[in-house]
Symmetry: C2
Subunit: 80 residues, 2 copies
């Protein structure tokens, strides 16, 4: 089973990296970006009978901090 996990700061939690990149990009291009948000991206591959449970726990316990981050899991369909 393949899955993609995206981890982002929760709404209202500051995103220093995103803000820093926005400042640099605004200066570099001489334009005003409305928003630049940063996060983490993971591609997972595992074969196991409880694969969804393991991937869910990987996302919530290891790849993200449940207090300040949200995560999203996108499972790749079997036939792809």
């Amino acid at each position: 089973m393949k899955a993609t996990i995206i981890v982002k700061p929760k709404k209202g939690v500051s995103d220093p990296q995103g803000n820093a990149i926005k400042k640099v990009a605004n200066n570099y291009f001489g334009v005003e970006f409305s928003e630049i948000k940063s996060g983490k991206y993971f591609e997972i591959e595992i074969e196991h009978e409880n694969v969804k449970d393991i991937i869910e726990q990987l996302a919530s316990k290891i790849l993200s901090n449940e207090i300040i981050e949200d995560y999203e899991i996108i499972y790749e369909s079997r036939d792809s």
Copy 2:
């Protein structure tokens, strides 16, 4: 215009973070993950006449290192 940019190590380039997480996850769950790859994730919002050109340059010049990383841009369709 909203867009998502995903930055990943090029094929063949080492992924220390992904490897480290894989080791931790294998021990934590007592299973063998086939693969854990890590990358960076950005959500961009900007209104400009040359928006796609700017986002392309943002991805290639600021958000990624073209020598060791690949990037992918996913543009959100206008009506969403």
